[in-house]
Amino acid sequence: MITLYWATCCGMASIIHDRSYLRLALGASLVLGVLAFVSYRLVRFEVPESELIGTYERSRVPFLKVSHLPRILVLRPDGSMQLYGPEGEQVFSGAWRWDDRERVIRVDDRRWDRQIRLRSTLMGPRLSMRISTIALEEDHPEHDEEVDLVKVGADIPGSVTN
């Protein structure tokens, strides 16, 4: 603690009296400030609802079993959504809306409400679905592991098997 305090004091005192330190501090602050801004912009940007519309397929997760989850998600522009199982059978149909502030898909059914969200990655935003089937609020141990949903195309009206 004393070392850190001393080093900080020395650093600060040196900055005041030594122009080479001042240049170093300003240069480093500038570079780190730019990187911080870039980091923030990589995370914070608007995602309009229209960009989410489409058909998504559940991807794989190493080590975890996800076969109990729907394989296909369809988000339609009319505000309806469908989830389809591994054999193409429909397991859920309902209304959805996009909560851009929380970056989560709200559904008028407690089982699926807030279960699908948009997370940021270096390669861009990606939808992901909670693996646990316990409703979010009832899940006190917080089983919040997720599986990615990969966009496989625009909205496909009717069956997703075509």
Partner: protein, 557 residues
Amino acid sequence: MNLDRSSLDIKREQHGVALLSVLMFLFMFVLALIPGVKAVEGLTWGASVDFHRDAAFVRAVVEGHYGEDPIYLGGSLWFTPMVGWIEACAVWITGLPVDQVIIQIGAYSNLLAPIAFFIMMWYFFGPVRAVVTVAVFLFFIIGREPGWAVPTYSPRLIPVSFCQWFFYIEVILIHRAFMTTRIGPSIWAGAGAGVTFLAHAAPALIAVLLIFTYTVRSIVKAIRSKDGTYGWPRLRASLAAGAAFILFSLPLTMIVVGEYGMQVVNRAYFLYNYYGLTLRNSDIFLYHNVALINVVAAAGLYLLVRRRIADTTERFELARWILLAWFALAFVLMVYSWVVTVLDGTYGIQLPGILPAFHFYFYLKAAWVVFAGLAIWEAYAWVMARIAKRGTAARLSLHLKPVVGFFALLAIACTLHYPAYATRRDVFAVRNRNLEFMERTNNGEACVLFNKMLPWDAVILCEVDLSVWPLLPSARKVVATVPNMGNPYLDQSQRTKDNDRLMQGMHQPGDDTRKLLDAYHVTHLLVRPGDLPAMQEAGRWFPVEVFRNEEYVLLAR
């Protein structure tokens, strides 16, 4: 920037390195803070049962009943009180509601964890390795795990996440105590362990065992070498540390030792097993832990064991011993606690318990963070030595140019990883769980209402799920709650049985209903409106309807 060595001598370069290290720390600190603050923005209630328990203890302080059990009438304080004190102070200073303070304060208070970690690492290994270990601590160790199971910055003020900073400072105090046989530094170390115990038992236990094992080691060495000048002074200093520990932990120990004799009756308190550590969920353990950072940390452990880590602060030998002992103690305690849980749950074999295993897993991972950071710097130094013909890791960390290069790589790595980090489950899912809870409970309306409506010593009979919500955070008493939220020094199973019999007595006449109602000083009955018509005896015992809405009916005797 003129980084020419001709214009900067070694000492000035070291100051430059220190300055850059502080700036790097601030850069990472701000990056971590942003999602933390956003995670609690606008929240007024937390969904976690841990928050409900903490709210009960905060309300006990705020309402002037410190030292009393807010859940069972007649019980005494059983939970480490530091977090409750801090939250009660924040309530008093800000004037905000208890539950809003509890959910909001963590984003700021938990910043002490990375600060303390940075200080600890700078103290032991100098500024450069302090920066890289903080990067691992903040951004890379968490991976896919919940924030409460891993040592990192998490925006929730729960004891496990908040209290780690006491341990990091305590490790420095222990190091200073072990460097000498003077009594003063040992008293500081003992006092630090005592204060840590008030915050959280797991880090305090590791700290006490560190002091104990080092003392035993020193005395054995002194006896073997027949060195009379060291053994006794060391023992004397460690005894002083023990006395300071007892003194500073008195606000809790005087109750749990004085009143309860440390006799844990309710085993559920330590039998809780983090789902990522259960045999059934071994796939989740692998999912969480098969990660590059763990391989790097394993390499760091190897380097440390083999003394391949460069010494830049002349504290290496003792620091190495403390780190390895910390790692080993956390590992042994974790395995033991895990075995206790598994044997109890699977075979009914009851070994003495300590705490849930994940608390020690947490500190095992904290040592793991240090190993990973050390390995990353050593790897950079190794590459520089071969490619750029630079010197050793120790020498490299003293010069500005290689450090600037290293920090640039580190800053880029943090930036590239940041999108995944800033929207990690620990921030997103927890926030959404809280929002859903706030929606469902209409901002905790029922809890606030019962807290205002009922006196401190009211005892409410209810089903166990209602004892958690809305009653637990209201700090109003119940006959029985869920086992892991109940006083570990009171017989939980008997309370659960009696609660069941009393609830049965509300449906049909029971022989012992009056006796049990009197024994537990029950004043109210809380039920759901839909359940009441089937409780034909309820009106006999609780004739006065105090409150009714769509969710709850409260009756009084």
